[in-house]
């Protein structure tokens, strides 16, 4: 078996050249790579010397004419670092603070977790709900909406995620992870973001991760509730969210749990209750 080659680039130009080599992939925290195995890997690009380890929060930097700034997070920021920066009062800080375990949160990086997007991801639900953008270097250099990045597989070819960004604005939120025990991979997660104008729902984002197709944003539910008075909403009709059965949970069970939890969390959020379970 051929020995692995390590590369230690210090510039993005070097990385772009290295990404063109066959079997060469980026190495950030390394937890995902060790899980998927090194059998097909011929080389690893160490990302630690690149300028992609940053957290920027600039509320004066108005974006696209909007009235708020952006939060920018470099790809090699770990889950622990993001949680420390954002705190539990932000859906992303809250979600990443619950992911995996303390020593793993100190290694798992935002970029690596996004590139691999495991079904149990605690990262992707909040980012999809926040309508984040992904910045890439290499063959497909540019900044793309996260859903575009997820659907266009060509964007992953010979590219490196260098960072993510999303609007720095205040949301009420609920984040739910369906687990059997505290230290468990979630079977699915629910990310809910809400803004109210007085008592009226002015913006709502509903995302389920872990279902068939990895994630689903429930636009229909969002549209049915925007403009209504939060306190007056007594029931919510959520259409079927398809799941693939897992080892210990059937698809029917997961569908039922997701539907019940979604209705429960959404009603609670609309009534002003906070739940970060």
């Amino acid at each position: 078996m051929k020995e692995l080659c390590w590369y230690f680039p210090s510039s993005m130009d070097e990385v772009s050249t290295l990404l063109k080599k066959r079997g060469v992939i980026p190495y950030g925290g390394g937890t995902g790579i060790l899980k998927t195995g090194l059998n097909r890997v011929e080389g690893l690009i160490d990302l630690s010397c690149l300028p992609i380890h940053f957290f920027r929060r600039d509320n004066n930097d108005r974006y696209n004419g909007s009235s708020y700034g952006r939060i920018e997070i470099g790809a090699t920021q770990t889950f622990a670092e993001v949680t420390e920066q954002l705190g539990q009062g932000h859906i992303l800080g809250c979600a990443l603070g619950k992911s995996a375990s303390t020593p793993l949160r100190n290694r798992i990086t935002v970029g690596g977790s996004m590139a691999l997007f495991p079904a149990w991801s605690d990262l992707m639900g909040p980012l999809i709900a926040l309508e984040a953008e992904v910045t890439l270097a290499g063959e497909q250099q540019g900044t793309y909406p996260i859903t575009h990045y997820l659907t266009e597989r060509g964007l992953r070819k010979q590219t490196l995620i260098t960072g993510i960004s999303f609007p720095d604005t205040t949301w009420s939120f609920q984040y739910f992870r369906h687990t059997r025990t505290h230290f468990d991979y979630p079977a699915f997660t629910i990310s809910l973001l809400l803004k109210k104008d007085g008592e009226k729902v002015s913006d709502l984002r509903v995302v389920v991760v872990g279902c068939s197709g990895k994630y689903k944003r429930l636009h229909q539910v969002e549209e049915s509730l925007i403009g209504r008075l939060g306190e007056e909403i007594e029931s919510i009709s959520v259409s079927r969210i398809p799941f693939t059965g897992k080892k210990f949970m059937s698809s029917e069970y997961l569908e039922h749990c997701a539907q019940v939890e979604l209705e429960r969390r959404l009603l609670a959020l609309l009534k002003g209750e906070i739940f970060h379970g």
Partner: protein, 155 residues
Amino acid sequence: MDGEFIVNGERLKVSFRPAATLLDILRREGHTEVKEGCREGQCGSCVILLKGRLVNSCQVLAASAMGKEITTVKGLGSLHAPHPIQTAFVEAGAVQCGFCTPGMILASYSLLKKNQNPDEEEIRKALDGNLCRCTGYVKIVDAIKLAARRMRTDE
């Protein structure tokens, strides 16, 4: 490949295979206080401090840690000059078979460095990556509370 690490303040020059983990290298070089458990990042037996951060050494490829500072439990204290956390573990009866103890002590150290007065929930959260199959965690939590009190008051 050849690389240098700083383990418990001392330079360690070693040759290793590119796919070797930090756990492989540390144990091979005599740091058997870093225990080999699941090799999947689940049990916490192999945790070390890498640049001051608690990590599973089985989940870190050694090449990515070259030149960086590594602390094992032996870097905190010794038999004759134990760290207050080590003393507290003994006095609170938090050690049974002892296999998880190096990891538990490093996880406790990592917590107390940031938070000198953690409550029970914060302690349990800080230990969420460390499994113990003997104690049921009650004595371990007691030990951390005891260590925290002593470290705060310099008892």
